[in-house]
């Protein structure tokens, strides 16, 4: 039993709401009920929709097969949620018998030790750890797929995997990593740390907090099922009409995105409401820690962005199941419609991913330089400017598609304008570092890595926003390298910095520093080698998403693959460090970094309601060097 568990079982007796169904439900019952409901849905749909000839389903009816598969996937998700107890709250509300205090306390996981991680637990700290494990799992799966892709591309004519498997690897790696990146900072830290940072005793809607995690959890097996249904041949963008014509594996992609969009909307609403409505007394907007501001702007941006992707997926699903014609030109549809809806979501989503990572680093720098954050207002203007402009740039992904060429100039300008608020973020970080004496601990390394990586990601983005340059570089490995430099170089680097920084608060132990340093250098050197190789290949004209290439690209591809193995090695070391340190690491003091934000004022394990008495804030969180 870990320290965490002891603390949660020793403080007071376990609440025992007698005869309450809540006490009997957990992840296991969720899986069982989910499978049963999915099996029933499969059986009913199969026998009501499919037509048979001599006992064999008519192969000319892929639409019917799609109905069966999509219905089964959604039934699994709904069944799991019913089986874990997600609908008890709404049902009790409906019949006018609200949950009792004891039931609410039970759902918060009070006194249940490790078990609460497998229940519909409403404690935001438990949800934060669930997200952390989920993110690490997704990164592991997506990273393994990346290794397989790079192994195949190590030399021309590689046949490590078949063409079909390669196609699926590209698509599944993409969507797995996108989902992981969206939740990489706001999931673990937004849930675990953020409510404490604003002096709240919980999230605004604890049950919806659990819902957002468990709904997302149900999407994971759905996405994995794509492997057994023939894979995803479209890449993560799932462009129509290719996605409409794709095999049954595409249903898994559609169901995953729809389920994920629900999870994101609920989580976004919850985090935004918590920050707006539950800040403790004295925490005016100019005293809110910058990570909280960044995360809130990020999730608030996600609230309107993701429904457009959801609509695009519902349309794709309808085209595949009910013969509608949203994307079929013969039926009055258009592939451009999909591209528009997808990128209206797709570009804001880049910043949904990026902003929390940068904000986490901005939280770290003042602590380790012992200086106030340079121009807090500029940081907020940077975040807000990026969020605002991000909804006006989507068509730069469609220069080559031929959609509205007369608007290319306008979209080029709006895209390049994003450099201005992005520049503010650099200004804030460098201004804070300026003439400081950084305490070079593990979290601080990520700050310097971010400045280097994101500078490259940002500058190469300016090339791609330029219409003539994009004409040459579009669809090449250059684009792949660019967006990895922004997403991995900024968001993942920021999240790893955040993990190193908040690890003591989340686990009560220090992250193994030596392993952390080794991992850092393996990842950062490998990352730069990997994607510089890809920049070279792309600039020379190698298209992305291909499983073979001309001999002229062999050196740059070999370099990339060597870099990829280095990244993989570093990530495995980090994974080991996290698992090992969380059990056997050095016990952390309450405030190992001497930080001034509220999360460091509470002990580990953090009490169920975070604070015995809610604090009153009397100064800003970055008052280093200003005396008391």
């Amino acid at each position: 039993m870990s320290t965490l568990d002891k603390a949660h079982t020793s403080t007071r007796p376990v609440p025992n709401p007698k005869r309450s169904l809540i006490t009997r439900l957990h992840m296991g019952t969720g899986v069982v009920v989910g499978i049963i409901i999915a099996a029933i849905a499969y059986y009913l749909l199969k026998h009501s929709v499919l037509t048979y000839t001599d006992g064999v389903a008519d192969p000319l009816e892929p639409h019917s097969n799609n109905i069966v598969l999509l219905g089964t996937m959604f039934a699994w998700s709904i069944g799991f949620m019913a089986g874990i107890g997600a609908f008890i709250g709404p049902w009790r509300w409906l019949i006018g018998k609200d949950l009792t205090d004891e039931e609410i306390l039970y759902m918060a996981g009070d006194g249940q030790g490790v078990k609460r991680y497998f229940k519909y637990c409403t404690d935001h700290k438990v949800v934060g750890i669930q997200y952390l494990v989920g993110v690490m799992t997704l990164l592991g799966v997506g990273g393994t797929m990346a290794m397989m892709i790079r192994t195949n591309l190590a030399r021309p004519g590689g046949h490590f995997v078949t063409a079909t498997v390669y196609n699926s690897l590209v698509g599944l790696h993409g969507i797995t990593m996108i989902i992981a990146m969206i939740i990489v900072a706001t999931g673990p830290f937004g849930n675990y740390v953020m409510p404490i940072m604003i002096g709240a005793y919980d999230m605004a809607f604890p049950r919806l907090n659990a819902l957002s995690w468990w709904v997302l959890f149900t999407a994971i097996p759905v996405l994995c099922s794509a492997w057994f249904l023939g894979g995803i041949p479209t890449g993560w963008t799932a462009y129509a009409p290719l996605s409409v014509q794709a095999g049954p594996g595409m249903n898994a992609f559609i169901a995953t995105i729809i389920i994920f969009a629900v999870s994101t909307a609920v989580a976004g609403m919850n985090i935004t409401t918590t920050v707006i409505a539950m800040r403790t007394k004295g925490m005016k907007w100019n005293r809110v820690p910058i990570f909280v501001v960044g995360s809130t702007i990020s999730v608030a941006l996600a609230i309107p962005a993701f429904p457009t992707f959801m609509v695009a997926m519902i349309m794709t699903g309808l085209d595949r199941t009910y013969n509608t014609g949203f994307f079929d030109a013969n039926m009055g549809g258009s592939g451009w419609l999909y591209a528009n809806l997808f990128w209206i979501m797709g570009h804001p989503e880049v910043y949904v991913i990026l902003i929390p990572g940068v904000a986490a680093l901005m939280e770290i720098v003042p602590v380790f330089v012992r200086k106030p954050l340079f121009s807090y207002n500029a940081a907020i203007m940077g975040f807000a400017g990026i969020a605002g402009l991000s909804i006006l740039v989507w068509a730069h992904h469609m220069y080559i598609a031929g959609w509205a060429p007369s608007l290319n100039g306008a979209f080029m300008v709006t895209t390049e304008m994003i450099s201005i608020p992005t520049g503010l973020l650099f200004l804030v970080l460098i201004g804070t570092l300026w003439r400081g004496k950084p305490w070079m601990k593990l979290p601080m390394l990520s700050v310097f890595a971010f400045i280097w990586d994101f500078l490259i990601g940002g500058i190469t983005g300016i090339y791609l926003s330029d219409v003539p340059a994009d004409g040459y570089l579009h669809g090449s490995m250059f684009v792949t390298a660019h967006f990895h430099f922004t997403l991995m170089g900024a968001a993942l680097t920021g999240a790893i910095g955040g993990l190193a920084y908040w690890f003591p608060k989340m686990t009560g132990r220090m992250l193994d520093e030596k392993a952390g340093y080794i991992s850092f250098w393996f990842v950062q050197i490998g990352f730069n080698v990997l994607f510089f190789g890809m920049f070279m290949a792309g600039a020379e004209g190698q298209p992305r998403r291909v499983m073979d290439y001309a001999a002229m690209f062999k050196n740059s591809n070999l370099v990339s693959t060597i870099g990829a193995y280095s990244v993989g090695t570093g990530m495995i070391i980090l994974l080991w460090a996290v698992i090992h340190s969380s059990r056997h690491g050095k016990v952390a003091p309450m405030n190992p970094w001497g930080a001034k934000t509220l999360e460091w004022t509470v002990p580990y394990p953090v009490p169920l309601t975070n604070f015995d008495e809610l604090p009153v804030i009397t100064s800003d969180p970055y008052g280093y060097g200003k005396g008391k």
């Binding site: 006018g96 009910y322 549809g333 004022t601 809610l614």
Partner: protein, 201 residues
């Protein structure tokens, strides 16, 4: 960050809880609004594109504008009924029953329209096709209408039952009625926008 510990509240006031719930619902309305925007964008985009003249192929029937308003008006009436109940607690039982019935009737009308779509093509093998992009857009909007009706009816039924059985503090009850009002008002607005869109065939 310096702090002291003179402020001791762990259980928020009913007003704070109510305000928070209403904000949460309004943020969900933003998400739903984005969903609606996407549908309307899609409708007018494909209508103006009219690829191959297949927005509404020749000879294909479509719903009249009045049928779109038929399924929008119940949402408006439901929102008004709920509002009347908010203003006068004594007639809340009556208005909550009326809200529920109006929503069920609206949902039935929407369902009936979906069951008798005039633009479907059926081939010899019994495979059904939505004929033209208008038909595709219509069915998506109608489906969203059904979802709104289902959710609205769930909320209305809950309010009706809770008015009779639950002992909720007056202040929290007032806030929850307002929160429900935000949702019903949004549904009415969404239905009117959808009806307006579908009126422009």
């Amino acid at each position: 960050m310096s702090h002291d510990t003179q402020f001791h509240v762990h259980h928020d006031s009913d007003a704070a809880v109510g305000r928070r719930e209403r904000l949460g619902v309004r943020l969900l309305i933003v998400a739903d609004g984005s969903f609606l925007f996407s549908m309307i964008f899609s409708y007018f985009y494909l209508r103006n594109l009219n690829t191959g003249g297949n927005w509404l192929p020749k000879g294909v029937k479509h719903y009249t504008p009045s049928s779109a308003w038929q399924v929008a008006i119940p949402f408006v009436i439901a929102a008004i009924c709920h509002r009347l109940g908010q203003e006068n607690k004594e007639r809340r039982n009556l208005t909550s029953i009326a809200t529920l019935i109006v929503l069920l009737v609206g949902g039935y009308l929407q369902w009936k329209q979906m069951a008798h779509m005039p633009f479907l093509l059926k081939d010899d093998g019994g495979v059904v096709t939505f004929n033209g992009a208008y038909a595709s857009n219509w069915v998506l909007m109608a489906g969203t209408g059904i979802f709104h009706y289902f959710l609205g009816a769930f909320i209305a039924l809950g309010i009706l039952i809770r008015n009779r059985t639950t002992n909720v503090s007056h202040e929290l009850d007032v806030w929850r009625q307002r929160t429900a009002q935000s949702w019903f008002t949004w549904c009415a607005i969404a239905a009117v926008l959808t009806a307006f869109t579908l009126s422009i065939v």
